[in-house]
């Protein structure tokens, strides 16, 4: 059983309300696309789901393997890709993946890392410093970071930003695979990415909502 439930979730930065009374329920296999203008709270919603900040009011609950988790507790089951997620530039791609596997307590082999890098279009670049990666390659490595532990919940903020056509196709594959494993939530401004979703959540800037 995999389920994500939001109940009347609100978030604000100081006096400014960013999200207000967001409620939904997602089951295994679901893909939710959160759409809206800049400043409408898409990234904030994903940060709440990742446990990187707490909602002002309301609750977020993950039901994973028949146990309830808060977003912070669910961190081992989450994969997060976002423009503000940075990996260690002075380490190689392989060293980054090894490091994050070790701190997550995963057992891994060199061939598993190579397979993941190949799958994400980074074959032969595993021993290059991340500092020498292009922005598109860095985005692909973010996917490697998010997918290596096979997360039950995948949170994608601007999933195809900086990616070329092949990269965008790769994201479509990642989302298709995630349907078999768990839940995906995508935040995007790109109308072409609406096709990924079973459900669309349209957010409008809080100021407009208040009117």
């Amino acid at each position: 059983m995999i389920q994500l439930t939001l109940t009347e979730v609100a978030a604000s930065y100081g006096p400014r309300l960013v999200l207000n009374a967001i409620s939904f329920n997602l089951q295994k296999g679901a893909v939710l696309v959160v759409q809206g203008q800049n400043g409408s709270g898409k990234s904030t919603l994903l940060r709440l789901l990742a446990g990187l900040q707490k909602p002002t009011t309301g609750t977020i609950n993950y039901l994973l393997q028949d146990t309830n988790f808060t977003p912070r507790e669910a961190a081992p089951f989450l994969g997060w890709v976002a423009p503000d997620l940075m990996l260690y530039r002075e380490l190689t791609a392989r060293e980054n993946l090894k490091f994050f596997a070790q701190v997550r307590g995963l057992t891994y082999s060199k061939s598993e890392i190579d397979a993941l890098l190949t799958k994400l279009g980074l074959a032969g670049r595993g021993d290059d410093w991340v500092a020498h990666f292009s922005s598109g390659m860095t985005q692909r490595l973010r996917y490697a970071y998010a997918l290596f532990h096979q997360p039950l919940i995948l949170l994608l903020d601007e999933p195809t930003v900086t990616l070329d056509e092949k990269g965008a196709a790769l994201v479509a594959n990642v989302i298709a695979e995630q349907r078999q494993r768990g839940i995906t939530v995508i935040a995007t401004n790109d109308p072409t990415e609406l096709r990924f979703g079973d459900y669309i959540l349209e957010l409008s800037p809080a100021v407009e909502r208040a009117r």
């Binding site: 997060w80 002075e90 380490l91 490091f99 307590g105």
Partner: protein, 228 residues
């Protein structure tokens, strides 16, 4: 427990590897140590030739001031770097909080051990400090540095999230460090004078107790600081 050990080792190894490649903290620490030792030797080097109680206390004070300012300059960097390079979020999502603290703590302890060795050698060479009881001197350096590390590692995590990092670190660290600094200076002066272990024990026990108390408090508080 195995995950904690593995994750702690991973954080420590990652920080060591990053440091060896970037020399972000080590260069700053060592440069500070060399500059201080040279400046002190040119200013008050003649104190090294005197063996009276007052001169020994001044030598110990200068040594600890050099260590303190170098430590304040360098020990916050492992956390500040995570925030400035925006890698903190990736680490926060993947690693157990306690492992992050322990990894960074051990990294800072290692940095301070290098700083202790280099600064002491520089003081012995340039300031002509003579050590009466070497084992006691090393014991005071080790326990004093342990206190500095336990007190400053948690503070580093706090100030890493602030905008005025370096100034804030010194301001917050000073009241925490001040009491143990006095004990470490007086103990080191005893060691320089060649006092026996029995005279140094009370101060060493006090330093060890302080280190233990701040370490336990840091372990309890770190998760709140790191995850906020």
């Amino acid at each position: 427990m195995k995950l904690l050990f593995t994750a702690t080792w991973a954080v420590l190894s990652k920080d060591l590897r990053s440091e060896l490649r970037t020399r972000y903290a080590l260069n700053a620490l060592l440069l500070f140590a060399v500059c201080t030792a040279v400046a002190v030797s040119m200013g008050v080097g003649f104190f090294g030739l005197r063996r009276d109680e007052e001169a020994l206390l001044i030598q110990a004070t200068l040594l600890w001031l050099a260590l303190l300012f170098a430590a304040l300059n360098g020990l916050s960097r492992s956390f500040v770097q995570e925030e400035e390079r925006r890698t903190a979020l990736a680490l926060l999502l993947a690693a157990p909080s306690i492992a992050v603290y322990l990894g960074k703590f051990l990294f800072n302890l290692g940095l301070l051990a290098i700083l202790d060795s280099v600064t002491s050698l520089l003081f012995i060479s340039f300031v002509r400090v003579q050590i009466g009881n070497l084992a006691l001197f090393i014991a005071f350096l080790a326990t004093g540095s342990l206190c500095l590390t336990t007190a400053t590692t948690l503070l580093a995590a706090i100030i890493a999230k602030a905008s005025f990092k370096s100034g804030l670190f010194a301001v917050l660290a000073f009241p925490l460090i001040f009491p143990i600094l006095i004990v470490a200076i007086q103990g080191t002066a005893l060691a320089l004078a060649g006092a026996p272990w029995s005279e140094g024990w009370p101060a060493l026990r006090l330093l060890a107790s302080y280190a233990l108390a701040t370490f336990v408090a840091s372990l309890m508080l770190f998760r709140t600081v790191w995850e906020t």
